[in-house]
Amino acid sequence: MTSDPVVLIDGRELELSPGERLNAIQAAERVGIQIPHYCWHPGLTVVGSCRMCLVEVGTRDAATGEISMMPKLIPGCNTPVRDGMVIVTNSEKVQQARAMVEEDLLLRHPIDCPICDKAGECLLQDYHFQYGRDERRADIRPFTSRRRDIGDVTLFVDRCVMCSRCVRFCREISGTNELMVVNRGAHEEIDVAPGFPLANNLSGNVVDLCPVGALGDKDFLYRQRVWYMRRHMGVCTGCATGCSIWVEENQDRIYRLKPRENPQVNRWWICNEGRYGYPHVHHDQRLAQPLRRDGQVPVDLDWTALPAELLERLRSAGRLAAVLSPYLSVEEAYLLATLVRGIDREARLVLGPVPVVGEDERFPNGFIISSEKCPNRRGVEEIIARFENGRITALDHFLPELADGQIAGVWFSGGYKNANWIEEEKARPLAAVKLLVVQDLFPSAISALATYELPAAAFAERDGSYVNRNDHLQSVRWAIRPPHGVRPEGTLYWEMLGRSGLYNAREVLREIAAEIPYFHAAGAGVPDVGLNLKVNSLAERT
C-alpha cells in the first residue's frame, strides 16, 4: 500500500508529496536528470512547440511491476507526472529526437557564436554539444544575420528559434503585448508593430528568457564575455520589492544584474530599473576619499587612524543622534544604533529619508514595482523601534530639533544612488550641528556640510540583510570589493564597537534575532531565498 505517489525516471524513483504538481521536466530535475527544453518555462503557459523535451512515457503496474511504454514520444513539458508513471529520457528514440531537433534548429541558424553575446550561456550551443550531430548534412546556406531595433532590447532576427517565450511574456506577465510573430512557417520572425516598440518596465526579462542570442540586452551588448564573469547572490536595492538577483562581475566591476529565482518574492523576474540599477556603483563621481573639514579646508584622511578619531570626537561631542538610512542593512542599522547609543544612552535614532516615486506599478501576473525606492525601510524601522521604544521619527520631523543646538553630533548614513539627492534647504538645519559625520555614495547638500565625509559602500559591496514590503528578509554577501577609499558600513561599525575579528553579518543577525522578536525567525539561519518574518512568527505562535 503506497502512500505517496512514486514516479520512475530512468530507473530512479521519485516520491512526490501529495498534491504536488510537476511536469516530467521538473520531476526529472528532482532526481538529477536534465531534460533539455527551449520553449517551456515555469512562469509561462505551456506550448510544447520546440519538441526538445520529448521523452518516452509509460506506466508501471502497481501489482506486477510490469512496465508498458507508449509507442510515441511525448513532450515532457505537457506531461503531469502521476503515480506509477515511468519516464525514459535516455533511450535511443529520445536521443534521436533530440538530435533531430538540434539539427533542425541549426539548419538556418547563423553561426554567429564569435560575435554573439549568448555564447557560453546559450542553450543551442549547450544542447548541440550534448545531444547534437557532429556533422552538418544540410546545404542550406548562406545565412542572413539581421539586427532589428524593437525598442528596449535589440533583436538578431535570424538567430531566433521560435520558442515564443518572449511573446508569451509580453502577453502573460507584463500584459503589454508589444511582441508578435509575423508570417508563417519557416518565414516566421519576431517583431513589433511599427510605432509600438517594446517599452515596458519588465522588458529586460525577455532577454533572460531567450534561450539563444536572438534578444540582446542593449546595456550589456558586447561588453563582456560571460565566461569571464563570476556571479554572486544578491538582492536588488532599487525598491521595497527586493527582487533576488545575481550580481555578475569581473574583477570587481559589475557588468550585469540578472534576476535570481525566488518563488516568494520575484519568481523569475526583475524590473528594468532594478536590472539596470548598477551604473552608480562605478560612477566616477562617487565619493572615494574619507576627509575631514577643518573650517572650509578638506583634509584627506587615512582609514588606519580614522575609526579611533571618530570615536574620540563622538565621545566628546555631547548629545548625539544617528540618521539610519533605509539603504542600510538590518545588521548595519543595528550596529550603528548600538554604537551611538553606547556612547550616548539617549542618542536619538531617526529614519533617513525614504525616496518615494509615483505609485506602485502592478502587472497582470502579480509582479509589483514598489514606489518606495529603497530596500530596507521595514527592517531599519524595526531596529529603530526597538531602540526608541516603538517611536519612529522621520528625518523631516527630526530636523527642527536641531535648531536649539542641543544635539552636538549627528551620524548621517546615506547610500543614496545619485549626487545632489536632497535639496539644499532641506539639508540646511544640519549646518547647525557641530559634529556631522556623513557616510554616503555621492556628493550632496548634506555631504557639503559634513565635518567628516566618509565614502559609503554600494549595495554589491556589503554583507547584510534586507526586509522587503512583505516582511520577507533576505541576506546577502558582498559581490565586489569596494573602491580603495571605502570602508563598508558594517566593517566600520564593527571595528568602532571594538569587536574582534572581521565583520560577521550572520553573527549580528543571530544577535538581533535573539533580541528583537520581529526578527526571531531569522535566528536559525536564512535560506538563499530568504524567509518571511511575519509568516514564520505566526507559525511559531500557533
Partner: protein, 450 residues
C-alpha cells in the same frame, strides 16, 4: 457492384437545388422535425454511435465517440465548428455539397448541434469558395425566416445560431485546433492536446469540430437509421474488435489524368481501380496509371499494381498510405515525373506549415530545398536517405509534432521515394553526373565564392 442510389448527392442535379423550397419539396427538414419531436440529444448520440459513422474530414475518427467526450455536467456554452476549410489537394466534395445542397448541410448541422448541446455553430469556410459562401448565407437566411434557426426552433426548447466565418487561405485552419485558434482571432497555431476540444475548445468551452460531409451523414443516419448506414460499406473486421469498420456512403473526388474527373457517391470500399475505370472513364488518351493518390495529397501514392485495394478506412493502409484521408483520388499517368510530384508536394507543405514546432517548420523547409536542388540538377543520392529520414521522424505518429500536417508532409515523401526510387536515382545520376555520389554538402567557402 449493385447500382447504388446516391443519398448525399441525391439533390444536386435538381433545378434550384440550393433553394429551401426545392429542398423542402424533396422532404427536407422532415428529419429535423421528427428528431426534435421524438429524440433527446443523448438519444441522437446513441444512434450515431450505433452507426459507427467515422469522420470524413481525413482522420476517420468515430463521430459518436467524439461526441461522447463532451462533459456531461458543464454550464456551457457548447460550440459546434463545421470544418468547411477543405484545403487538402485533390479534395472538393464539401464544395459541391455546399454549393448545390446547402440545406442538406444545414439540416445536418442543426441535428448535430441538437445532439451536442451547441447553441452556436460556426461554419469555418475557406475563402476560395465564394459560391458556397453565397449559397450558404442565402440558405441560412431562409432557415432563420422559416424558424429552423434561432430561438426555440420549431417550438422546442432548443435554440441555435449558425454563422459563417470566412478563412484566409491557410491549410492548417483545417486542423481542429488550428481552426479554433483561427476562429478566436489568433494565428492558426494548433494547440497541444490534451486538453481536447470536447473538453476545452473554442473560447475554452466544450466544442465539437466536424467535417461538412460527416454532418450530412448524420442527417441521413437519423433519417433512415443506423442499420441502413451499416448496410452500406465495409463491415468491421470480425477478428479485430477495435475496428469500427467503414460504413456508409462516401463522396469520392477523382481528378488528374482521367477522362471524367468529378465527384461520385459510392458505398465505402470501392476498389480504386473500379473507381477510376468505371466512374471516371479511365485514363486520358489511353495511357496507363503511374501513381495514384488515394485520399488527398497527404495520404501519399500508390503504384498501378496497388490499385485493387478498397478505398475504405483500412484499404490504403495496406499499401503503405496514410489512410483514406478525404477520398480525393488523384490519378497521374506515365508521362508525369515523380520528381515534379514530390517537389509540388514538398512545396505545398512547406508553404502551409504553421511554423510552430521545430521538426515540421524546419523539416518541410529542408525537404523542399532538397527537392529544388534535385530538380535543378544538383541532387545527390544521399538526399534520398535524408528525405526519408526526415519523413520517418516527423509527425504525430512518432509523436514529434503537435499536429498531423507533418504526417501529411511525410507520407508523400515516404511513399514516393520507396515506390519510385529508381526514377529518382536515374534522374539524379543523369542530371548530376559529377556530384551525385557526394556524401556531404560542399564546403561553405565554395558556396560563398560561387
Amino acid at each position: 457492384m449493385a447500382d447504388y442510389e446516391p443519398v448525399l448527392l441525391a439533390n444536386i442535379h435538381k433545378e434550384g437545388s440550393h433553394r429551401l423550397a426545392v429542398y423542402e419539396a424533396g422532404g427536407g427538414y422532415r428529419t429535423l422535425r421528427r428528431v426534435l419531436q421524438e429524440r433527446s440529444p443523448a438519444g441522437v448520440i446513441e444512434v450515431i454511435r450505433a452507426s459507427n459513422l467515422r469522420g470524413r474530414g481525413g482522420a476517420g475518427f468515430p463521430t459518436g465517440l467524439k461526441w461522447s467526450f463532451l462533459p456531461a455536467d458543464h454550464p456551457g456554452p457548447f460550440y459546434m465548428c463545421v470544418n468547411a476549410d477543405e484545403s487538402e489537394p485533390g479534395t472538393f466534395c464539401n464544395r459541391v455539397q455546399m454549393e448545390l445542397d446547402p440545406h442538406q448541410v444545414i439540416e445536418g448541422i442543426i441535428l448535430s448541434c441538437y445532439a451536442t448541446r451547441a447553441n452556436t455553430a460556426y461554419i469555418y469556410l475557406r475563402y476560395e469558395y465564394p459560391l458556397a459562401l453565397e449559397r450558404l448565407e442565402t440558405a441560412l437566411a431562409e432557415c432563420r425566416d422559416k424558424g429552423y434557426l434561432g430561438k426555440n426552433i420549431l417550438g422546442h426548447d432548443f435554440s441555435l445560431d449558425i454563422h459563417v466565418h470566412r478563412g484566409a487561405g491557410a491549410y492548417i485552419c483545417g486542423e481542429e485546433t488550428g481552426l479554433i485558434e483561427s476562429l478566436e482571432g489568433k494565428r492558426a497555431w494548433p494547440r497541444i492536446k490534451p486538453p481536447f476540444p470536447a473538453v476545452e475548445g473554442l473560447f475554452r468551452k466544450p466544442t465539437v469540430v466536424n467535417n461538412v460531409e460527416t454532418l450530412t451523414c448524420v442527417l441521413h443516419i437519423l433519417d433512415r437509421g443506423a442499420d441502413w448506414f451499416k448496410s452500406i460499406g465495409t463491415p468491421s473486421d470480425p477478428k479485430n474488435p477495435r475496428d469500427p469498420g467503414s460504413y456508409g456512403p462516401k463522396l469520392y473526388g477523382i481528378s488528374g489524368h482521367v477522362e471524367r474527373p468529378g465527384l461520385v457517391e459510392l458505398p465505402l470500399g470501392v476498389p480504386c481501380r473500379e473507381l477510376i475505370e468505371e466512374h471516371a472513364g479511365g485514363l486520358r488518351q489511353g495511357r496507363r496509371a503511374k501513381a495514384v493518390v488515394p485520399g488527398g495529397l497527404s495520404t501519399g501514392v500508390m503504384t498501378e499494381s496497388e490499385l485493387d485495394i478498397p478505398l475504405d478506412f483500412s484499404g490504403p493502409l495496406r499499401v503503405g498510405c496514410l489512410g483514406l484521408g478525404t477520398a480525393g483520388v488523384i490519378v497521374l499517368d506515365e508521362t508525369y515525373s515523380m520528381i515534379d510530384f514530390l517537389h509540388n508536394s514538398c512545396r505545398f507543405f512547406a508553404h502551409e506549415s504553421c511554423g510552430q514546432c521545430t521538426p515540421c517548420r524546419e523539416g518541410t523547409h529542408w525537404a523542399v530545398a532538397m527537392l529544388q536542388r534535385i530538380k535543378a540538377g544538383r541532387g545527390r543520392l544521399k538526399d534520398l536517405d535524408l528525405l526519408l529520414e526526415i519523413a520517418d521522424n516527423i509527425g504525430i505518429i512518432p509523436g514529434t509534432t503537435i499536429c498531423g500536417l507533418a504526417d501529411g508532409a511525410a507520407w508523400p515523401i515516404k511513399t514516393t521515394l520507396r515506390k519510385f526510387r529508381e526514377e529518382f536515382v536515374d534522374h539524379i545520376k543523369q542530371t548530376n553526373p559529377g556530384g551525385y555520389t557526394a556524401q556531404s554538402p560542399p564546403p561553405a567557402m565554395a558556396l560563398v565564392h560561387k
